[in-house]
């Protein structure tokens, strides 16, 4: 029986090695359901290739090209070009990378693909640090989070706004989602996979138990709080038009947003934040929402 109205067919077979409660694999599972059989995925270094199975076993039901850390978009560009050269039109090319592989080391190849308009869907699984190498800070790590390379003071800079960097490329579809909202993921990935002929970008926030120091039975809850506090907004930018989606839709009014303290207090990575720092982060979130408000045109 379909759960949440999603297709029953699985594209991640059992037997992969993710941590319990892994947001990234929850998200990947629903992305692949939305992409379906006719899909080729390029995957760079990160948790996904390490967790999905070791040779000679693999849990993907679709074809996958493992590729170097900074090369997910580039590999996908090559696959897309080869399909075009062969006249194959019914296969979706996707790249599935982490936030480090996207916002840091992989940004050049992604920007190049987007500028050229290569026919691929790039999905960033954002768990806000280099989790696979042991929780080092990335460009996508939020302010104040302790990681193994920001171990005492926490990260001093705010999160890099990757979706809006992609928006500056004027690509036809950009969306954000969160692993705690499978239907939202499904809907957006399905929509993006159908918008062929250009680069599309989706960034999915994926809570990470060990990296965020959250109890593994609470990763879904933490993801929902990220959205309800406004730390992470769910939106789409379709042909340049910005719109909030799902539970983020009603959060333009600051009084509707849960204070970020509720989100931060569940996570060990924010345990050292002072009230003053929490205030600064709350201020940053409020500013983000002011800019969303402008983008909606309210």
């Amino acid at each position: 029986m379909p759960i949440l109205g999603l297709p029953e067919k699985e594209y991640m077979y059992l037997g992969f090695y993710s941590c319990p409660g892994c947001g990234e694999f929850l998200a990947l599972r629903h992305c692949l359901k939305a992409l379906g059989d006719k899909t080729i995925v390029a995957i760079p270094a990160g948790c996904i290739p390490t967790v999905a199975g070791l040779f000679p076993r693999i849990s993907y039901r679709v074809s996958v090209l493992n590729i170097a850390f900074e090369a997910a978009a580039a590999g996908a560009s090559g696959i897309a070009a080869a399909l075009k050269a062969k006249g194959v039109r019914d296969i979706t090319v996707a790249a599935c990378a982490g936030d480090g592989g996207t916002a840091d080391i992989g940004i050049q190849a992604l920007s190049g693909a987007a500028e050229r308009g290569d026919d691929l869907l790039y999905i960033c699984f954002d768990n806000e640090a280099y989790m696979n190498t042991g929780i080092q800070r990335s460009g996508a790590t939020p302010f104040g989070a302790t990681t193994t390379t920001t171990p005492i003071i926490g990260k001093r800079q705010h999160k890099k706004d990757m979706p809006l960097i992609m928006a500056a490329h004027k690509i036809p579809y950009i969306a954000t989602s969160c692993s705690s909202y499978p239907q939202d993921i499904f809907k957006k990935v399905r929509k993006a996979s159908e918008k062929r002929g250009a680069t599309r970008y989706i960034q999915i926030l994926c809570p990470c138990g060990p990296g965020w120091r959250v109890d593994v039975n609470r990763t879904v809850e933490v993801g929902r709080l990220a959205v309800r506090t406004g730390m992470w907004a769910l939106y789409e930018i379709e042909d340049g038009k910005f719109s909030l989606s799902g539970p983020s839709r009603g959060l333009i009014d600051p009084s509707k947003r849960v204070p970020i303290k509720e989100y931060l207090k569940l996570q060990g990575r924010f345990a050292r934040l002072t009230d003053e720092q929490i205030g600064a982060l709350q201020e940053w979130v409020n500013e983000q929402w002011e800019s969303y408000k402008k983008m909606i045109g309210e």
């Binding site: 074809s63 580039a74 070009a81 500028e115």
Partner: protein, 398 residues
């Protein structure tokens, strides 16, 4: 009908890629290679070649994109030089490890600093251990022919390794020379369309390329065997290079040597070893010196990987001395060609004396008189019965 055209080394490489009917090209501009991909983009835009041309934003992406394209089952091509090749380094390992038969033309150029756009072999020699086959051409005809042969060898099911066809920057890349372009039908007969063993675009039979293989994990500990198979493929490639070279000669009447080309080596006491365009000049030097009564021959290292160790051991049966020219340097030791020739001779029954000469770095011209000097010094060393100085930098300014 075959036709003879006057063309540069760069364009010869482009025409070879066109003749090979490559399906995906991904390239980034860099001197002195740029005219290759400029010409190819024109060929594609004019509709003379049905291929996708990706104007990538770096050489790293050029190679990564070709890895994606080749794994999807199409014939691919790129060209680069110097820093571009150095930037690709990671993906060169990847292409070879993934066993993808990508063919790349490299117009050899020095690495900075100091900035230098001119020829030496440091760029490709630095990629020696990536698992790529390396061919060094001595003229533009050989560039054209070798690109075609490289596809045949790389795509052989017993090889499946990528290949780079190297040519001296400017000396060949920008030099106009006659090149015979065979009839396309004959090229098609020699080089049929690529038949990949696996491809990504078969949804009924999904495949995963490059899955992790780790030690101490049940059933997964196959990394060493993957590497061993690459080495076996390189060994097999030696055979294929010879076979394909013979077939090419039969079909097109041209032969550029197998892994090595010997020139008047049969009764030579001293053999001058070189790569690329210097191997062409060496032949003139040998002719002149033969006229003067020197017992000398020239040896072109046409293929550097797989290395022609057996061929050199065979020559060692009658050659008394090798003068080895390197247009590169492995800092802290000696030039790469000298290193390999010496290593090959270690297994030979007879041990000729060997000396290395470093010359032609960063595009400094190598005069025939300098190659001649190298040979004369070897004769002096032969008289002495020992090598006075193991390695010499020719034309070094003080």
């Amino acid at each position: 009908m075959a036709e003879v055209i006057l063309t540069t080394g760069n364009h010869a490489a482009a025409y070879a890629a066109k003749a090979a009917k490559v399906k995906v090209i991904a390239a980034y501009p860099i001197t002195p290679q740029s005219p290759t991909v400029e010409e190819l983009s024109e060929i594609v835009e004019r509709g003379e070649l049905k291929a996708e041309f990706i104007c990538v934003e770096s050489e790293h992406t050029a190679m990564s994109a070709l890895i994606g394209a080749s794994a999807t089952g199409v014939r691919t091509f790129t060209a680069t030089s110097s820093h571009g090749l150095a930037l690709m380094h990671e993906m060169l390992h990847w292409a070879a490890g993934a066993r993808l038969p990508i063919v790349m033309y490299v117009a050899n150029r020095a690495l900075a600093p100091p900035w230098n756009i001119w020829c030496d072999h440091q760029d490709t020699i630095a990629q020696r251990d990536t698992g790529w086959m390396q061919f060094y051409a001595e003229n533009n005809q050989e560039i054209f022919d070798t690109v075609l042969m490289a596809y045949r060898i790389a795509e052989d099911k017993e090889v499946f390794l990528p290949a780079m066809v190297c040519a001296d920057g400017f000396t060949l890349s920008h030099m106009t020379l006659p090149v015979e372009i065979p009839d396309q039908k004959d090229i098609d007969d020699f080089l049929p369309p690529y038949e990949p063993p696996f491809k990504l675009d078969d949804p009924d039979n999904p495949v995963t390329h490059g899955n992790p293989a780790m030690p101490n994990v049940p059933f997964s500990d196959w990394y060493t065997e993957c590497r061993f198979l690459m080495q076996e493929a390189m060994t097999k490639a030696k055979e294929k290079i010879r076979e394909v070279g013979e077939e090419f000669k039969r079909r097109f009447g041209r032969f550029h040597g197998n892994l090595i080309e010997e020139y008047r080596c049969d009764d030579a006491e001293v053999v001058l070893v070189s790569m690329g365009s210097l191997a062409a000049q060496a032949k003139d030097v040998v002719d002149d010196m033969r006229d003067e009564g020197y017992s000398v021959g020239a040896l072109k290292l046409r293929v550097f990987r797989p290395f022609p160790a057996e061929e050199i051991q065979e020559l060692a049966k009658h050659v008394k001395a090798f003068a080895v020219i390197d247009r590169n340097m492995s800092f802290g030791y000696v030039g790469a060609a000298l290193m390999e020739v010496k290593a090959a001779l270690c297994d030979a029954k007879e041990r000729p004396i060997v000396k290395g000469y470093v010359m032609g770095l960063g595009g400094r011209d190598v005069m025939p008189s300098e190659q001649r000097l190298a040979v004369q010094e070897m004769f002096k060393d032969l008289e002495r019965g020992r090598v006075e100085k193991k390695i010499e930098w020719i034309g070094l300014r003080t």
